[in-house]
Subunit: 741 residues, 2 copies
């Protein structure tokens, strides 16, 4: 276990000295995290109510306020007016970039480029800290295998291996090498735990899972964040074994702290302490007590701690020592940030201008966006387009600035986003472009209202759907090729944005059908915050470029790929089902006792009306060039428990473009004491190959890569045969075996 | 714990004496359960191979052979030719009736009439034992909350309370008062355990669940069967905590035997020992050893025990004592059946004629079928029809004998089934009926092939779909009312019959649309083995009578209800979703921390495109009359832990027909240490009310009804408030509260 800061409990003299001076009320105050509420809108930094609380020593941190000058006012309230002058933590939701908005995390994960992802987190930290933020509520590392769940957009998909790699990259990016530096901030891994397994894909719904599945499949990314020294953890809304995470002592105390050695502090999600009342666990005093005793240190927004803990101490339900422990953890974080040395460390009024939205940051946003795109299909090599093409650019997302940033980008500014139309003009000024909206994102007013809670995302046109379509067909007629930008509006995925039907809305399906019927080449640029069900569209003779919600440089990045300045290299990190009835579906399935054969057989594990296979497997993604794999070899045929083994494969670029390829390694533990998945991702490497070039790619498997949690919850490997698969996606079929002694 | 037979291990002198004489091989032979294979078809009783094994003492039981004369031949092979003359167990799959086929179990469960259900099991036992069977692979009590899973047809639906009541009724019906009587047989509760929770509703797929959910929601019906003394238990195909049930020591040894006190024997499902190899647990010897050591006693079909256990004893992997223990359990069952007294006890050649398919049995089949039907909708009181109506009887299931019995009725004979058309003529000879098929069950040839594995179920007509529809509209034109019999063919549900799309097939949807468009009154008689998604059909101004697959008296029972001789009283035992994207959906959901309000609110637990509520809730079902509920009262406001409490409600028949109503009681434990479901069924009573009559119905809650398994897996009740809801379905809103001290 790597814990970068060796401070244990009671080991920071300054903190202990401070604790010795604190009243019970002041300690409880440090456990209270607030957002200023109306303050932002009205111009005041924080609302009156919050101001009074800060001065009374009743607030440990704030979030939802930004800018050094504004934050300085809040920090001064704490430092100049509260009895003990304890500075505030200043938190923020910087999920995929601060002002320089990167693609949604699900998109970024499809780059499989952990260095680049770390750089996005670094840039986010540079910008956020320049704006006064010292604590970030990211990364979100919840494994998600149900694309109905809208928050799949915020994570890295279905797999614990790449999920763990990305979790580490983001924590390192945010926290840097020195957490007390002015351009690093506390990361907060969330939502601990299992939030991505919400039943029926409905957000905030109950979660149920065996412990063996938790440890093998869902917990690794959180653990990975702890291993690289994440300073804080946020609990999830859901229950686990019938106890909400926020009050789950087994989770926070036994697993996180005792097993994993986490030494930082744990914060609730927004009002998740209070919500335990609705969960059926008792009144606010009871659930606050439950949460504190379970190991929760900081209470976000709901003020259950602030309003009840003192009473609970008086009634003997908790001890002051328990509160002191929580308070110590919060104070230690402030100490490590350097706030006791200089409460204004993050509050340099000159920094925002220099550090935010720099050309270089936007350039990285453009690059990572292009690398997040996944070419799903490229019939007749429709893509890339020539830059002097006559193009009908159609679709409700082709010129929609408001939908480019994607979900949960509250610090971003959609007015800064480049539309696809603008990107086309920037990248291919010589192209002849005719634009038509073609369709509404949805024709359903009631649905649009739900999507537009944060501003207009679905704007139902004054023109009738028929007229919109007619205009698109006129544009199509004038052109050599059609590019249709279709899919989900920003708020169709994300928090509280679950869908039971994850297809392209009918209004746009009609447009696509009509465009295909013209017989002209059609490239679909598909935007979404989740895997969609697109069986009909996938069968059309079209190109499909999946671009998620690409962020502030959306249009430029789309144009870079559409016109071939960047050859797409993204690979899916979540399986795309054929239909909703296949959910949950993911690559690391078990064989079962009656595995289906390719041809239907009765009494095998299959469906009457659908193959078991998804439409598009995990790891899938095409390129403008083609890659051929050969010569998979292992450097050993037998290894001992403490040995590594190297798998090597030759990859050749056999097509007409230079390009990048993500070489993937999947492992199968043929026999073990608990049912093994047929394949598990255990390695990947992204390589660049000029056309005609070939390279040998070697991936090393460590002893831990062969381990799993057994029935006794021991992390072990078991002797026997292992199969190694390497190739272009999770269906790759070159295979070699070795024996573990 | 009630164990009707007090035999413990080593307590039957005859069995111990026999064991003392047995060789290791003979003991292993008793653990081997075979099916005669080709024998049935060719006229021989058993194949040559099986005959040799019986004589060599290598077979403990047979299944798949029937008739006293045929079974006598097999039994004589054992008794006259094997060294120790140990008689065979004779098993069979008598799932919903032997020759007198009752409705599918999901249908029967909708009667909520446990006495009647016990009678169906009794009749099944009378018929099966008359035909030589002494062991029945029923009841199937797997809780199922995923209607994609085809075997939901074979169980009692989603709820552990009614599931437990039905489990008990069926075990009692099969086993009777005296298991050694010639008309009782061993029951075998299956599939232990959790088989109904197959991931993504795909049969045989992996299962994952927390232990707290197992004990509170999925295990109670198996436990109920053990409590009334079931003699055998069958393991399930799925894994639990990563270990297939067939090799799961925790499940078979710790829970079933040690916690629940089960003293009978455990049999695998068909080749489920062998299938552990595909599960990834090892070769046949390894998995056979694993199964025996886990507590499995008998190996169905796969002969893993027969072929490997001796070797494993020699290699010290298991002991002979472990085999002796398993053998003892099998021999004790034979002893209790009385087979050692008289191996031919069940083999009276005169009985079949007297006991099978009696008029009385068929009458019960007709009665229970009528009581299984659920009136889902009755627009404008279209139903019941007058017996002298001019009726267009249309639909692919209106005259389809092959689809009446329903899934898994291998002992039944579909040629004996009454079609709906025949039933109409029997019950309403004065009606003027014009028949037209109207549509194929499905127009898809490839799909039909999968459904027709056991014979023709979907027969694609030589007439084109257009012509079929035209004929139906002609028939409709001539008539005053249209009855359309539509839905699933028999084999569209059941084992290995999972569907990702559970709507009515498109061919039939077109027919329904066209019929509705005529403007004539339309009654849909809907057949299926599962809840279907019928949002479109439910919105039509029609009547919908859900009749499942009604069994041998199908047509008569349908006619009884359609023409009003029986007023429907069935209530759903599984929730009907609006669409597949809502699955899993069931009535006993938890509140979550952010419960949705009726009107959409952002940041609540809901979907963007669907309500959280199902189309039809658990417990739902209409009547031709109407019932009004009033005056819910409790006889106490506070109770102690050991006290009962009575809830009473007045039910009035306020409509124009006599009728039966299932009065339901749901309990909410307002606050407890693990998240409580919002409602749990805890009582029901079926009452008959003449029109204008009213009755007070009282349901008693026992101390156990207030208990649940807490985090420590203790079965406890916790002090605090409980809410009692009573009424007509799980949405009932009359409420009273009491306090548990």
């Amino acid at each position: 276990l790597m814990v970068p800061f060796a401070y244990g409990q009671n080991s920071i003299p300054e903190v202990e000295a401070l604790l010795a001076k604190m009243t019970l009320e002041e300690k409880i105050g440090q456990l209270n995290l607030l957002t200023p509420g109306g303050g932002i809108a009205t111009g005041a930094v924080v609302s009156k109510n919050v101001e009074q609380k800060i001065k009374a020593g009743q607030v440990g941190g704030l979030f939802g306020v930004s800018g050094p000058d504004r934050i300085r006012i809040a920090q001064e309230m704490a430092v100049n007016h509260s009895r003990l002058k304890i500075p505030l933590l200043i938190g923020s939701d910087v999920i995929h970039g601060y002002k320089t908005t990167f693609p949604i995390p699900l998109g970024t994960s499809c780059s499989w480029d952990t260095e680049l992802i770390q750089r996005t987190a670094r840039i986010a930290a540079i910008e956020a800290t320049a704006d006064g933020i010292n604590w970030n509520f990211s990364p979100m590392v919840d494994i998600a295998r149900d694309p109905r769940w809208g928050r799949i957009a915020e994570g890295a998909g279905e797999d614990p291996f790449i999920g763990s790699a990305i979790a580490k990259a983001m924590v390192k990016g945010y926290q840097g090498e020195d957490i007390s530096a002015a351009n690093t901030m506390l990361a907060c891994v969330k939502h601990f735990a299992l939030y991505g397994a919400s039943e029926a894909g409905r957000d905030y719904h109950t979660v149920d899972m065996s412990r063996i599945k938790m440890f093998n499949q869902y917990l690794p990314p959180y653990k990975a964040a702890v291993e690289v020294g994440v300073f804080s953890v946020m609990t999830s809304f859901n229950d686990i074994d019938g106890v909400p995470a926020t009050g789950n002592k087994w989770l926070l105390n036994d697993v996180l702290r005792n097993q994993w050695g986490f030494t930082g502090f744990v914060v609730s999600d927004y009002t998740s302490v209070n919500e335990m009342t609705a969960h059926g666990l008792g009144d606010l005093q009871s659930v606050s007590t439950l949460a504190l005793k379970a190991g929760l240190d900081m209470d976000m927004v709901g003020e259950g701690f602030l309003s009840t803990l003192k009473k609970s101490v008086a009634e003997g339900k908790i001890t002051e020592a328990e509160i002191t422990t929580a308070c110590r953890r919060v104070l230690e974080a402030k100490y490590k940030l350097g706030l006791f040395d200089d409460p204004y460390r993050y509050l340099d009024s000159n920094r925002p201008k220099e550090s935010i939205l720099t050309k270089e940051h936007r350039q990285t946003a453009r690059q990572v966006a292009a690398k997040s795109f996944v070419l799903l299909k490229n019939h007749n090599d429709i893509l890339p387009l020539k830059k002097d093409s006559k193009i009908a650019l159609v679709g409700p997302l082709a010129d929609s600035r408001k939908n480019m940033l994607g979900t949960w980008a509250p610090t971003g500014d959609s007015d800064l986003a480049i539309t696809v139309m603008e990107g086309f003009k920037n990248v291919a000024p010589e192209a002849e472009i005719t634009y038509a909206k073609g369709a509404n994102i949805s024709d359903n007013n009631e649905f649009a209202k739900k999507i537009n809670v944060f501003g207009p995302r679905i704007e139902i046109d004054r023109k009738s759907p028929e007229k919109l379509l007619k205009d698109a067909l006129i544009a199509a007629n004038k052109s050599d090729v059609i590019v249709a930008v279709v899919g989900e509006a920003t708020e169709m995925s994300g928090e509280a944005a679950s869908r039971t039907d994850i297809s392209i809305p009918e209004s746009q399906k009609k447009l696509i059908r009509a465009l295909v019927a013209t017989g002209k080449p059609v490239a679909l640029v598909l935007m979404s915050g989740r895997p969609l069900t697109i069986p009909e569209e996938f069968d059309f003779p079209v190109a499909i470029l999946q671009v998620w919600h690409p962020g502030v440089e959306a249009g430029n990045a789309v144009a870079d790929v559409v016109f071939g300045d960047y050859n797409p290299s993204g690979k899916l990190t979540a399986t795309w089902p054929r239909n909703v009835g296949q959910i949950p579906i993911y690559h690391s399935v078990k064989n079962t006792g009656r595995p289906a054969s390719p041809k239907f057989e009765k009494f095998k594990s299959n469906y009457l009306d659908s193959p078991n296979t998804p439409l598009l497997p995990f790891g899938y993604g095409l390129s403008y060039t083609s890659f051929e794999y050969s010569n998979l070899t292992l450097n050993k045929t037998k290894i001992n428990q403490d040995e590594t083994i190297n798998a090597s494969i030759t990859v050749a670029n056999t097509g007409n473009y230079d390009g990048e390829e993500v070489v993937q390694l999947y492992l199968r533990d043929v026999v073990r004491s608990i049912t093994p998945p047929m394949r598990q991702l255990k390695g990947f490497k992204k390589v660049f190959l000029k056309k005609g070039e070939q390279k040998t790619v070697t991936i090393q498997l460590s002893p831990d890569d062969l381990k799993f949690y057994n029935s006794a919850m021991e992390f072990v490997s078991e002797p026997g045969e292992f199969e190694v698969f390497m190739g272009t996606d999770s269906n790759c079929n070159l295979k070699q075996s070795f024996i573990l002694n």
